[in-house]
Symmetry: C2
Subunit: 324 residues, 2 copies
Amino acid sequence: MGEFEFIETIRRAFLEVGDGAITGVGDDCAVLPAGDGGAMVVTTDMLTEGVHFLRAEPGSERELPEARQLGAKALAVNLSDVAAMGARPVASLLSIALPPVCRGRWADEFMDGYRELSERHGVKLAGGDTTASKGGVAINVTAIGRAPLSLLKYRSGAREGDIVAVNGPLGESAAGLADILAGRHDTPPARIHRNPTPQVAEGEWLGTRPEVRSMIDLSDGLASDLLHILRSSGRNAEGGLGAEIELTAIPTPVSAELAVTGGEDYKLLLTVAPEAWSRLAEDYLARFGTPLRAVGRVTAGPPEIAWLDGGEPVAKNLRGFVHF
Amino acid sequence: MGEFEFIETIRRAFLEVGDGAITGVGDDCAVLPAGDGGAMVVTTDMLTEGVHFLRAEPGSERELPEARQLGAKALAVNLSDVAAMGARPVASLLSIALPPVCRGRWADEFMDGYRELSERHGVKLAGGDTTASKGGVAINVTAIGRAPLSLLKYRSGAREGDIVAVNGPLGESAAGLADILAGRHDTPPARIHRNPTPQVAEGEWLGTRPEVRSMIDLSDGLASDLLHILRSSGRNAEGGLGAEIELTAIPTPVSAELAVTGGEDYKLLLTVAPEAWSRLAEDYLARFGTPLRAVGRVTAGPPEIAWLDGGEPVAKNLRGFVHF
């Protein structure tokens, strides 16, 4: 059973329980309306040794030098989820289960990385739990963000005709993972893979723009994450919503195919009201010095992506990275 | 390194980072002020197989029948933390790392227990994460509560002269753990140990009473948890705060010694302005049908507990349950 099915099973079993004003299950974050028109958004993510990261070289207890980067990454993926809602991350809670062997230097370096990223974005460590582990390291981070409720972005807001856009180059992380798996640990893509940069300021800024109708962070690759938007938004549109994506428009230093199927870019994928696109792109460039890139368009139809190469349809069955 | 020291190390390293309005590190929950005088409280707790629970009989893969109870307990301990702040739990997020062997029946039964307790208290499952584990099961629950900011209870509010009180019998869970470890799985205390009852309605009600000056949930035993209140509150009192506790006043079906040192009772421990004690106790009895029990008094002095037996000092060095 894959991750997605189990979460869906749980979600359906719980739909009727509790406060109906709490929404966002199936989005990057849950949404809790607060007073004064504000809202808090909350997300959580678990990383386990041997599945999401290696702590020691396989077959030995020699520790890999990535504890600091792992500390930053554990927080970064959650800040990315908060940013994708158009919210500002304000606090995190960290739970960590540690086998005895890594309670010293490894844990200290992990915390150094976690703290550095917390400081960069002004995110308070508001609580947590430390416990023993009889197996490997397990890490869980919960991140909390704030935004005006009316400005939050969801996967469900896309409409037919929206421009599909991304806010940075894709595929570098996947190329870096390939380098690492081939033993090339120090290439620029490998460093990008180990140091994901959550789009915190960019997400909050895009949140303030009403013409941004839907948003998600690119954790599994555009081919997969855009389908989340199309399926979620398509429930509000008769006949559903699909998309056309122009592969030559994808910003990437690697192949377009790797760019749309590779995971862990942690850039933002958004859909934008077409009449406001030019102004948004100009303002974004003026604010951040890097471009928003239009890569396609939302269409009517089933939740499928039609891939174009120079405007011509290409028969590709591209799939995003499937986590477990 | 014990759990407490590592958390303290982290806490000190992070004190200056982020929004100073977010407080509560060192309390049962973090506190995030919301608009309109409201607040959200957040707490998180991780349970790992072999440390906090057994999934299968030692040395075999025969599953123990406690998955449902574990699902309820994983949520219960977090609802207890929310209740201890005087807040109402409204939502939870569940992360679970599962080895392949328990992705079927075990996981379903775990979720049944989690859902039953969620339904009982109207707590929405607002999000989560499911992932693989190369080791045992790891579970992380984050619970979120709401309360008016001005009504929240902290460990730091006790004053000299306060009545120390508990809201139910202590020691049953510890007696149940002893039964289980001796192979007696079906005794009434064993069932109490496996089914902790968070004091959700009681905590929210006590939160509305300004004469309740400090509160904590009894997870490690009164001898340990009262010291958390005394140390935290003592920082605001010249010369610090201690307490006198009358062992014969402790409500318990087991020995007073086990009652104050045993862990996992998940009742509430509170200190109350002495002039308002009688009225509070009457109102509590009228509301819940069970008594609040006065067990001692906050005194001036170092953060130590003087144990009395029939009013006479007894030389006991009682310590609460020390988790790792």
